[in-house]
């Protein structure tokens, strides 16, 4: 198992290398530089600027130079927010994005698992039908539809919660619901079908025959097996949440990394853009590895092998 794990780590590192290199070339080879402006900058100054931001030299020199800095943990300087390094900007904004993402992740998984199990135990009855209709509705409503409507209703009309911003627990509620809602629904559907399948299996009948309480059968015996598809989905879920938080941060004016990502594209701020993409990819790849390990710990029948 250690061997396969090592092999997996190596393949993920290769993937990261490809993604980072591709990002670099996409940014560097697109027409238009960060210092293009209406007014032409004097040649001498432009030269100094390019040297300061390490944008001089051949493409190959820039590429190897960038990798050298990356391996030392330096994401370089932002060309838009002069004199601020990408590391600094990310250190300020990532904790915000992570807090929002982690809360939504917990919300989506716990609520989704609970709802799906609830629907499965009431298979083909009113509770099941209503829960699954609600789930399909939530899957069909993307965050940029739910968010503004939640603001209209709960912030502007009822005035229960703040419109946006960041810092108090009250300000987290609406964004977290907006971000998590479609995934609560998706996980509930996933959980329902896998729970229905599990409940039909022999070991559940054995557990019931032993006279165990239904609660114990459901939450101790069945859940452990039925939750596996949800665990598999956790990796993609993290990717979806990171992507989705860009929109949610925009809607609720949250000072996370998402806003900087959008602006860095508009401003041709190459190193900031690259920094966000690279950090997101590294984190997701690491998270996926953790999920893989959790999966094998949960399900002894499966050995990591490929």
């Amino acid at each position: 198992m250690i061997g396969t794990l090592l092999r997996r780590v190596v393949s993920l590192i290769v993937v990261l290398g490809v993604v980072i290199s591709a990002t670099f070339f996409l940014i560097r080879l697109s027409p238009g530089g960060p210092f293009d402006a209406e007014r032409k900058i004097p040649e001498q100054i432009e030269k100094q600027l390019l040297a300061k931001y390490k944008l001089d030299g051949t493409l190959w020199e820039q590429f190897t130079g960038y990798w050298g800095d990356l391996l030392q943990g330096d994401l370089r300087l932002s060309t838009k927010y002069r004199n601020r390094s990408v590391n600094e900007i990310l250190a300020q904004t990532l904790p915000v994005t992570f807090t929002l993402g982690a809360i939504s992740f917990l919300l989506a998984t716990t609520l989704g698992v609970w709802l799906g199990t609830f629907a499965a135990t009431r298979h083909r009855r009113a509770g099941d039908t209503i829960a699954m209709l609600a789930a399909l509705l939530a899957i069909s409503l993307p965050s940029f539809v739910i968010g503004p409507i939640l603001i209209l209703v709960f912030a502007l009309d009822l005035r229960w919660l703040p419109v946006g911003g960041w810092g108090t627990p009250m300000q987290v509620i609406l964004p977290a619901i907006t971000l998590a809602a479609p995934y609560v629904a998706y996980i509930a559907r996933l959980m329902r079908s896998s729970m229905l399948e599990t409940l039909n299996q022999d070991f559940i009948r054995t557990a019931r025959a032993k006279g165990l309480a239904e609660r114990v059968v459901l939450w101790k015996h069945a859940l452990r097996v039925a939750i596996l598809p949800v665990v598999t989905f956790m990796g993609p879920l993290a990717a979806h949440l990171l992507t989705g938080s860009i929109v949610v941060e925009t809607i609720f004016h949250i000072p996370g990394a998402g806003g900087f990502f959008v602006h860095s594209i508009q401003n041709r701020d190459g190193f900031l853009l690259g920094g966000v993409v690279i950090v997101y990819c590294v984190l997701l790849v690491a998270f996926n590895l953790a999920v893989d390990i959790a999966y094998t710990l949960l399900d002894r029948r499966i050995e990591l092998n490929d």
Binding site: L141, I265, V285
Partner: protein, 298 residues
Amino acid sequence: MTEPGLCKQLSRNPSAVAAVGILTIIVILALVGPEVLPASYREPGPDQYSPPSWAHPFGTDLNGRDLMFRVLSGTRLSLLVGICGAAISLILGTAYGLVSGYVGGRVDQIMMRGVDILYSIPRLIFILVFINAFNATLEQFAAERNWVWLVDYSRIAILIISLGVIEWLTMARIVRGQVLAIKSRTFVLAAQALGQSHLRILLRHILPNLLGVIVVYLTLTIPAVIIDESFLSFLGLGTQAPRASLGSLLADGASAINPVRSFWWMILFPSAFMALTLLSLNFLGDALRDALDPRAKN
């Protein structure tokens, strides 16, 4: 091949009937609406942010443009991107799944591991970088050759291609699973024994048996692509003004939110069209899956 009783099965499912009805209405409105509305509705007018009235049933926006015209033409664009993007993902996913499932063995393992890895990187973020890098290049390319049509549509063309390129993974997985099940059936073995080429077996014997599943996931990919496109347009990185899609209209609505006056119609109408389109496509896809792919049913 679709089974003979498909229409009958669907017509017995009330949510599927409703979904088809709503979809038909939306498509007709989106196709016909922008053509028959008065020409003055396309232009900015004197009434800024006026609430719904008889002259402007959906109200007007910041520039006094009629919101009904903008919502209907936005729906048209979103549907166009959704359908074309899904078609591209269909071709890519089916080809990948066919090869992976048919060849099998180590190749299959490596190809599916690749899909797993792609699932876990933030594809939309990466593709955003790609779109914005490549768009300027394509515009330059088209301008140098004086291809006016492409200059106008270069961004939409790139959007469609990129979204097709990121949404094919599910299709590939499903097709591969089906191919694995089909390829050991006797009619495929018979074709192999007769010495038919692999390409011919794939296209003439295996592919026709996949049509049902492919139709189901095509129906489910269209809403996914529409959501992706709206996501990009919402951030101002997809469709560019003055052209509008549902996503950019929602962005306009969201940016007009303020505590003093709420321009609710700018959020309500684009949201309603978006939600109805996505809901009916998802309902239809689910109903088709129940009818065509009994194993996916619980």
